[in-house]
């Protein structure tokens, strides 16, 4: 048994307001191992990583490396201690060159303050060669593909001679071939003795790369297991903490009138020739990997972009919404993917946030604060939004409750069509089930729901019908009753396998 060798989290605790992100997490990553950290959204993975990176300070507990306590006060200290991070959101400076990105914050400097541009390019060249990356160190980072930008972060970590490389969902925006390349690089690093901490909820990747797997759930460390001798199903159960509830056997009549119909809708290069229909009371899942064009499709229906060709019909009538206002007036609502950026106003109260779309559509001139307060309270109660009141700012709410606010503000407008883009991204498991329940209930009331999600279990659990998109095209349609993860995934990736 190896003691005190490796990276050790001891009783790490962190709360954000009322939300306990980590409740005393203790786990050990052996030096030289590839260790996976898995868990659902909201399980606390990101918080643990942020603590390791020095971005967030824990309320209690400590982090040790080979027995020595790490004082991680800032991201810089993390780097200096040899902890390299590869983030999901792909932090990079698009305006700097490749070499500039790799040495950002740690530029090689000659006497007199001059940048040693040539040396930095040469070092970059060497690192890129080592990774078998054919990238010009002098090229601007914005000219790189998503995959290369991801690998640029790995290269940056290598330039700092990291001992621990932390990767947070690094394959989210990569194609299979690109992911293969990344794994090859990671294998090589591990052979050189770099400790890998790999965070993902994609189990096949985890099983392919990692030696040991730690599961987090709701801020707790559930278990750490050896990859050998454990079945993926067991990990899934540990992540979810309960059996997934069976699909509610809702009968959507095939005779129900078609409410939303798209015919050959195109907006190049995002999506082409998309034809689909959603009946009254039906939940249609729109599945695809990142970059499949789902968000752009929903935004086009919502009037944020103009289509190049094709028609949108609502209850049989052709509509051409030129703005979200027009779409919303017609009865279309969109719950966008990024609630922080696209959904919420953090300078306004929960009340303002909840009533804004409805009031904007009604075109009232006056703000009737009392009436709005009553309405907002009713919405908070109805959708069980946990908040200290309706006159607080939404940044005090947890991710799940923020998402419920965005959902509730649109349901308050009594839409006929509800478009949802990744409705449970970054919310905890409890809120996820509640949001699913809300969607089911609203569909039962006759709203046509089109749910874009890359969360396959969610799509399977929620939808009556599943439409699979890939690279901007509809790949196929599956009745949810007969759908399995394999059949959906096969459609989503089939083109690639064929080629």
């Amino acid at each position: 048994m190896i003691t005190a060798a490796g990276l050790e989290f001891r009783n790490v605790t962190k709360s954000f307001g009322a939300v306990k992100a980590l409740a005393g997490v203790s786990l050990t990553v052996h030096a030289g191992d590839a260790h996976a950290l898995v868990g659902e959204n909201g399980a606390g993975k990101s918080t643990l990583l942020k603590i390791l990176a020095g971005i967030v300070q824990p309320d209690a507990g400590e982090v040790r490396w080979n027995g020595e306590r790490l004082h991680l006060g800032s991201p810089r200290e993390g780097l200096e201690r040899g902890i390299g991070m590869v983030y999901q959101e792909m932090l990079c400076f698009p305006n700097l060159t490749v070499a500039g990105n790799i040495f950002a914050g740690r530029e090689l400097i000659a006497r007199g303050g001059w940048l040693r541009v040539g040396d930095m390019r040469a070092r970059t060249r060497a690192i890129l060669d080592e990774l078998h990356l054919a990238i010009d160190p002098a090229a601007p980072a914005e000219s790189l593909s998503a995959a290369h930008r991801q690998l640029l972060q790995v290269a940056r970590a290598l330039a700092f001679e990291c001992r621990i490389l932390v990767l947070d969902e690094p394959t989210t925006s990569l194609t299979d071939a690109e992911a293969d390349h990344l794994f090859a690089v990671l294998e090589k690093l591990r052979a050189r003795g770099v400790t890998l901490l790999y965070v993902s909820h994609r189990l096949p990747e985890v099983f392919r790369l990692c030696d040991r797997i730690s599961v987090l759930r709701d801020g707790h460390h559930v278990e750490t297991v050896d990859r050998r001798g454990v079945a993926p199903e067991r990990i899934v159960r540990a992540m979810v903490g309960r059996e997934l509830p069976p699909r509610s056997a809702r009968e959507t009549s095939a005779e129900a009138p078609v409410r939303l119909e798209l015919s050959s809708l195109s907006r190049r290069p995002c999506f082409q020739n998309v034809s689909l229909s959603v009946r009254t009371g039906e939940i249609v899942g729109l599945f695809g990997l990142v970059g499949a064009g789902r968000s752009e499709l929903l935004e086009t229906i919502f009037g944020l972009h103009a289509p190049d060709a094709g028609e949108i019909r609502l209850d049989g009538r052709v509509i051409t919404p030129r703005s979200p206002v027009a779409a919303a007036r017609a009865g279309i609502a969109l719950v966008p993917e990024e609630r922080q950026r696209q959904g919420l106003f953090f300078n306004l109260t929960v009340r303002d946030n909840l009533v804004l779309p409805d009031r904007t559509l009604r075109g009232d001139a006056l703000v009737r604060a009392d009436r709005e307060r009553d309405e907002a309270r009713a919405l908070v109660e109805r959708w069980r939004i946990k908040t200290a009141g309706v006159e607080v700012l939404p940044d005090h709410l947890s991710g799940g409750n923020q998402q419920k606010v965005v959902l509730a503000k649109w349901l308050a407008t009594s839409p006929r069509v509800l478009l949802l883009d990744e409705p449970t991204k970054g919310v905890d498991v409890g809120a996820k089930f509640e949001i699913h329940e809300i969607i089911r209930r609203e569909a039962a009331r006759g709203i046509a729901c089109l749910v874009a999600s890359s969360d396959l279990p969610e799509v399977l659990a929620l939808s009556d019908r599943i439409i699979v998109m890939r690279a901007g095209r509809v790949q196929g349609e599956i009745d949810a009753a007969g759908a399995t993860e394999e059949s959906v995934m096969h459609l989503a990736t089939s083109l690639e396998r064929a080629s």
Binding site: P324, V325, Q342, F345, N347, T360, A365, V367
Partner: protein, 319 residues
């Protein structure tokens, strides 16, 4: 108590009160003399001159709350003042007609900036920087270096609607401040301005007509700068091209001192008006302190920074 402090305007009132108390104490006269600073006549003087800044600062605050910036008000004030006084003095128009044209000119500059920002679309900083040059340049072209003497034609006790001339500027300012404070806090339009400034993307996704809101904001700022310019020539008595030189920075500073956040989404009309009064008191009192005259610009700069830093640390708000 903490709650009270969170009402941002209240802390501005407190700062203003402390400032007045300080100068009252500092400038306390020898026994038997009237106080040189703390008297009714001087208060009216401060109010009158602050109103010029305050009317434009209402517009500046609204623009800043919407997440934008307007660099043009100083130059627009000069242009509208010059046009109004030119029509009144040179062309012999009636006072009402010439000043209305002046105000309309202000609105026109606002509409032009708004069009550039919404339709071009240019960043507000660039569009209004250009507008600032255009307006100031037009003022010089119209005057050809002369000035138009408004006060000589107004002689004989000008009392519109029976209001003493000194009270005109403060009354116009107070009426406009109340109107726009109510519009910003009690009307959907005001909340739309706050929402666009707080999160423009979310505003778009929430069905708010973002472009229309932005357009209205710059149009209003132009209109108010126009009113401010007209009031300026009435107070100073002459129209000339270098009027209100550099006022835009004082106006923006007033809005910020009054709680407006340059990143948008925060601020208030009343706060901006109180901010202009803070500077108005400084401009009035400092010259009365022997030797302080040369320090007044420096002190104004220090005050801006000090108040905003205090605001940030005390209330933990973002600027």
């Amino acid at each position: 108590m903490k709650r009270l402090w969170q009402i941002r305007e209240l802390s501005t009132v407190v700062i203003l009160a402390l400032e007045i108390a300080f100068f009252t104490w500092w400038l306390w006269p020898e026994a038997g003399r009237t106080h040189p600073f703390f008297n009714g006549e001087n208060a009216l003087l401060i109010l009158k001159y602050s109103s010029i800044y305050a009317i434009a600062a209402i517009g500046a605050a609204i623009v800043i709350i919407s997440g934008g910036i307007d660099l043009a008000p100083g130059a627009v004030m000069a242009l509208t003042g010059v046009i109004g006084s030119n029509l009144f003095v040179v062309h012999g128009w009636s006072l009402a007609a010439s000043m209305t044209v002046g105000v309309a000119t202000g609105l026109a500059t606002g509409l032009l900036s708004a069009t550039l920002i919404v339709a071009a679309p240019l960043p507000p900083f660039i569009a209004t920087l250009g507008m600032m040059g255009i307006a100031r340049g037009a003022a010089f072209i119209i005057t050809e270096g002369q000035y138009f003497d408004v006060s000589s034609r107004l002689l004989g006790g000008w009392r519109p609607f029976g209001v003493p001339a000194d009270w005109v500027a403060p009354i116009v300012m107070i009426v406009l401040a109340i109107i726009f404070q109510v519009l910003m806090t009690g009307f959907q339009w005001g909340r739309a301005v706050f929402s666009v400034g707080g999160n423009e993307t979310a505003a778009l996704f929430s069905g708010i007509a973002v472009n229309r809101v932005k357009f209205s904001v710059y149009a209003i700022a132009g209109l108010l700068a126009g009113v401010s310019g007209v009031v300026l020539v009435l107070v100073q008595g002459q129209g000339k091209a270098d009027l209100a030189n550099g006022y835009e920075l004082d106006i923006i500073a007033s809005a910020v001192v009054g709680g407006a956040s340059l990143s948008g989404g925060r601020g208030s009309v009343i706060g901006a008006v109180l901010g202009t009064l803070i500077f108005g008191v400084l401009r009035n009192a400092l010259p009365q302190i022997p030797g302080a005259t040369f320090y007044d610009r420096l002190i104004v700069g220090v005050v801006v920074i000090a108040i905003v830093v205090m605001d940030q640390t005390l209330l933990k708000k973002r600027v």
